[in-house]
Structure formats: C-alpha cells, structure tokens
Symmetry: C2
Subunit: 193 residues, 2 copies
DNA sequence: CTTGACATATAACAAACGTAATATAACATA
DNA sequence: TATGTTATATTACGTTTGTTATATGTCAAG
C-alpha cells in the first residue's frame, strides 16, 4: 500500500548531484542543503536515503570509482596488448566533461582524505584495482610490469591533475587536453616499436 | 611607546600553524579558532595579523610555494647538468616530514582551488616557475626540453601524490618513499648514459 | 473511496563558523 | 613611574551547518 520509488535510482540521483556540486564548487560546498537542492528537493528527502553527510559523500566517491572501473574494464577487452593498454590509459584521462567531473571529484576527495580514514581506505581499494589492471596489461609488453606500472600510474595521475587542477576552459582546455594525450603517446612509444 | 613585535615573524607563525592543521586534519579543519589555538593564542590575535580566513590561507599557500621554490633554487646551483636535474627532482618529492607537510598542504589546496580563483591563480603562478626551472635544467640534456618537462612534471606530481594521498606511516611510508625515489631514478636513467 | 505506509517538505535545534566589537594586558618611550 | 599605543584576550552577533523532529503529501492495496 505504500508509495514506492526506485530506491537505488533515487540514491544514484543524489550521488550525481553530489558530483556536480563538488566538481563545480568544491568539497566544502557539498552541504546537505546544497546537494538536495541540486537534486531538486529538500534535505528531508535526502536524509531519508542517506543517514548523514559522510555516508552520502563516501557513497559518491565509491560510485565514481565504480563507474570509472566499469569503463576501464570495457575498453581493456579488445585489441592487441598495446592497443588495450593505450585505450585504458586514454580512457583514464579527463578528456571529456564526464571524466573531468570525475577527476575533480577525486581531487576534492584526496584533499579531504587527509583526516578521514574511510575515504583514504576507499581510495586505497580503488588504487589496488587500478594497479592490478595495469600490471595485467603490461605483462605482455614489459619485462618489468611492476615497476612500469609505478611509473605509468604516476604519469597518468600527474597528467590528469594537470588538467583538472587549474580552471582551464574552452579552447585553452582543448589545447591542454591535446598536449596531455600527446605526452602520453610519446611515453607509450617505447612499447610500440 | 607601543609594544612592538616582529610582524612578519608573527604572520609566519600563523602560516606555519595553518600548515600543521591542514596537513594533519585537512582544509576544512583550518578554521580561525583552530589555527589560532595551534599557534598558541586566540582569534583576537589572529585577526590582528590576517584580516580574514581567506587571506590567511592564501598566504599559507603562497608561503609554501615560496619556501619550496627557495629550496629548488639552491639545489639547482651545483653539479653537472644531470646532477642538477636529479637533485631538483629529488628535492621536489615528499621524502621527509617537511616536504610531506608541503605536499599535503598542496593537495588540500588543489581540492579547494576548484571554486577559488585566487587559489587557482597562485597555483598557476607557481606551476609556471616550476616549469621554467625544469626547462632550463633540461635544455642541456634533452633535444625536446618542453615536451620532456611535460612528462617530468606529470611524473613528479603523480609520484608525490602517491605518497601524500593515502595515510602511509612508519615502515610502510619509508618503503613507499624508496620505491618513489627508485622510480624517479629509473626514468632519469635515460639522461645518464 | 478509504486507509495506511512511505516519500517528501517544513520547521526547529544545538553547535560551530567568520567576523566584529570590546576589554584587558604588555611594553617602549617620555 | 606614568602614558599611550599596540598586542592579545574575551565576548558577542548573525549565519550556516548537520541533524532531528514533525507535518504534509502521495500512491498502491483493500
């Protein structure tokens, strides 16, 4: 007899609203009221789906990790070993608005992870998965997949942050994105000879 | 006739207190009260030296940049071209507690720069200086200093964040730091043959 | 329809914030 | 030592926050 809604979809809406607020206005701006209004309702509804702010934001981070992980898995399935590696690394950079939003969310959470073990732990989990995928992809390509993964992870993190950090927009952003892609390709050249 | 204190030194004390709070407890924890108490006084004294929270935190960022820049300049002055590059890049990583604090502060500010143009601008300024120094150091070593600088900046950012992001401590931290140093040396090997 | 459980909105609360105003303490000069 | 400016502490104010409590709305089953 009760009114029924798709609970998981409703939670996902609030998670997406959190992403939008964090990516556009920063972590501090992601208050309960702000996220609720971004989702088009009030805190009364939001608290009905998330007990408190912390659990909302942690779910937002976990969800961003999951979404990115799904995309990585997909693009890692087809092509030659080099093509797979190349596709995964390209997919990992903030080269469109969706991935840029993800990177800004991650950047915000990295800063916030300083004193929140739950956030740091969620980050560590994702990092381990990401690293395992990379090592697999590098096994047929490198004599030292572990060390090569260290370098590539750092490179991708650095390139991504270089794009997400400052407030690039429009043509300047497009140029920066092309430079990043070129830098990645230049480094990967050593696997493609 | 007035009581006189060293204004610049007093401001520096508050800046250092900001660093400690941000690095240990995150950006959000750096409230006026918290920073003042970390410095051993109350907000009354803090507001006497910094008009508001924003100017305090921006000065904290600027000061961290300046301090790191001074160190970079020093270690870039002696040795062969390769030795200079190597020394500067080693100095840029969070391999001791002072530099770790700096990196955590930067990480926190990167997240906060999303919606604060002044922070983003201060970051961009520092980035330009850092890039110029690197290009100079690379000129005698690389046929393509600009592109090489792109890669190295990304690599160092990624390595530094890998150390500063998660909550490593004790032996695990030391091991991670050694791995980072090794990864850097492995990449720089191509300049040292 | 009526009903009753769930969804959502509204309202209220204490706590913490940035900031400003005010009061006290300290000290260099006269 | 007396004085007056500066440094610091204390207090207070208006906002905003997370959270909780209460009221209103909504819809599927009987």
């Amino acid at each position: 007899m009760p009114k029924s809604v798709d609970v998981e979809e409703k939670r996902a809406e609030f998670v997406r609203a959190s992403w939008d607020v964090i990516a556009a206005e920063g972590f501090e701006a992601a208050t309960m009221r702000r996220v609720a209004s971004e989702a088009g309702c009030t805190t009364g509804s939001l608290t009905h789906y998330f007990a408190d702010r912390r659990s909302l934001l942690i779910e937002a981070l976990r969800s961003a990790h999951f979404q990115a992980g799904e995309r990585m898995g997909k693009v890692a399935e087809e092509g030659s070993p080099f093509e797979r590696l190349h596709a995964v690394l390209l997919e990992s950079l903030p080269l469109d608005s969706v991935r840029m939003r993800e990177w800004k969310v991650w950047l915000a959470f990295w800063g916030a992870s300083i004193n929140d073990p739950a956030i740091a732990s969620e980050d560590a989990k994702r990092y381990a998965e990401w690293r395992a995928l990379l090592e697999n992809l590098l096994t047929p390509l490198s004599q030292d997949p572990e060390h090569e993964a260290d370098l590539i992870i750092a490179l991708v993190d650095g390139l991504g942050i270089g794009l997400a950090r400052a407030g690039f927009a429009g043509a300047a952003l497009k140029r920066k994105q092309s430079e990043c892609e070129a830098a990645l390709n230049r480094y990967l050249g050593k696997f493609n000879d």
